[in-house]
């Protein structure tokens, strides 16, 4: 069964100062010799996914993020469930609602001439080229444990995503980094 939840980015989210802890896949590590990852504007979903809409039995649950922009900086999107206060300093643990992370390898801004990074290419069946390199992408976080926990707690699901910027160029926007169209919650038997 697939459950879809649409979300829009909350524009008023505050920028979170300071480096993130445990920014890589190996969570909970101390950042000795840390290289100053930055925290961009946190995404807080404005809509809930009702758990009543999710099939009660599943072996796997994915959070699919659709239409993710990747034109700028490279970053980690740290996904929390039902923890609207999550920030860069929130430990990435199940008890804090941490569901997993996705990573974006950004293009680093536009290094072409005017219009080079415009992706509104017309739909033309005779165009042999691959789609534009900046076509928004899809990221999948396998979030089975976190979704099951939310269902056990009978809590409708809200997402908070903390973007941790790892690398950028002089052409990158460093505040409004995380942009996507919507997310899907998909379960599998």
């Amino acid at each position: 069964m697939a459950t879809k939840g649409k979300a829009t980015q909350k524009k008023s989210a505050k920028r979170q100062p300071g480096p993130a802890k445990g920014a890589g896949p190996a969570k909970g590590t101390a950042p000795a010799g840390y290289n100053g990852y930055r925290v961009a504007k946190v995404f807080k979903a404005s809509k809930k996914v009702p758990i009543a809409d999710i099939a009660p039995h599943f072996s796997r649950a994915d959070l699919e993020f659709i239409g993710v922009d990747h034109s700028g900086a490279s970053y980690e999107g740290r996904v929390f469930i039902n923890n609207p206060k999550a920030s860069a300093s929130t430990e990435a643990t199940g008890t804090n609602g941490y569901a997993g992370s996705f990573y974006v390898f950004g293009h680093g801004g536009c290094f072409g001439d005017v219009g080079h990074c415009d992706i509104n290419r017309p739909d033309d069946p005779f165009d042999p080229r691959p789609s534009h390199p900046l076509k928004p992408l899809r990221k999948v976080v396998i979030a089975t444990d976190a979704i099951k926990l939310a269902m056990e707690q009978r809590q409708d699901i809200t997402l908070t995503i903390v973007p941790i910027i790892m690398s950028w160029t002089e052409k990158c926007e460093l505040e409004d980094v995380l942009n996507f169209d919507h997310f899907n919650l998909v379960t599998y038997d």
């Binding site: 290289n35 490279s74 980690e76 680093g108 691959p130 790892m166 950028w168 160029t169 002089e170």
Partner: protein, 271 residues
């Protein structure tokens, strides 16, 4: 009959093998024609933008994830260019960087890539010059790298768990996530600007790019060994990996492409 190229762990290369690799990279970096390091680096991002990441479409409304096949062809062409610059009689293979290893978790970027100089000479595996006059603004500088904390690197258990995924789409999606992380981690930043591995445009100029992608390619090879060499979405098979002219079907077998992955190798003379 030609033997297969052995791609080895960078940490297990003998001193002579590492020296031959350095000489080949150095020569490729000193030329500027279509055999050059600069030429191949420029195919990925700036200025040619051929690289294929995540799902895109081509001749179809269906999105295709050619991330793994495209980079396999890319590595092969680059390896041939490097082999052409190697010392006479020496067959170099691109080494892979195991960013899950205990050594990487202690040291981060391997010493072979992190040493700025070797025997008093600039280390061609440390950095390379980006010459991209058509970029806006034009780029002409050496690469930068500000790697993160080694303890953040993925663990063997995390990566091995990917090998249990049975669907190609699942596997490539999840592996690309680790790939993306390593790019951001390796490029990193110095507080004011990021390193080149951290953005698609300049990543391939950093000499460690090729060994990162050998690791990715090797993981795909290991996954194929476990889940089936032809385990891939059938509609992808006839798609062409531009600008290399090879189809996805043609890059499924690394032995058919003339190489294999080894952890180490030892040669012992018969006499």
């Amino acid at each position: 009959m030609a033997s297969l190229t052995l791609r080895k762990n960078i940490d297990s290369l003998h001193a002579t093998e590492l020296q031959a690799l350095r000489e080949a990279y150095k020569k490729a970096q000193q030329i500027m024609d279509n055999r050059s390091y600069n030429h191949f680096a420029g195919l990925h991002g700036i200025p040619n933008w051929w690289c294929w990441h995540h799902e895109r479409s081509q001749h179809s409304r269906v999105n295709a994830n050619l991330f793994l096949p495209w980079h396999r062809a890319y590595l092969l062409y680059f390896e041939k260019a490097i082999q052409s610059q190697a010392p006479p009689g020496v067959k170099v293979g691109l080494p892979w960087w195991d960013w899950t290893s205990a050594r990487s978790h202690a040291d981060g970027v391997p010493r072979a890539f992190s040493a700025a100089s070797v025997s008093g000479q600039p280390n061609p595996l440390f950095r390379a010059r980006i010459v991209a006059p058509s970029a806006n603004p034009p780029i002409n500088r050496v690469t930068r790298r500000f790697p993160g904390n080694p303890s953040e690197l993925p663990t063997p258990a995390q990566v091995n768990s990917l090998l249990d995924l049975t669907s190609f789409n699942d596997f490539t999606d999840q592996l690309e996530g680790y790939h993306d992380f390593i790019h951001g981690w390796t490029g990193g930043n110095n507080g004011s600007v990021g390193g080149d591995m951290g953005n698609v445009g300049t990543a391939a100029w950093d000499p460690i790019f090729w060994s990162h992608h050998c690791m990715i390619d090797r993981l795909w090879y290991r996954w194929q060994a476990k889940q089936g060499m032809n385990n891939i979405t059938p509609t992808l098979l006839t798609m062409v990996l531009e600008p290399f002219g090879m189809t996805v079907r043609e890059v499924l077998s690394i032995n058919a492409l003339g190489y294999e992955y080894a952890v180490s190798s030892i040669s012992v003379g018969a006499r």
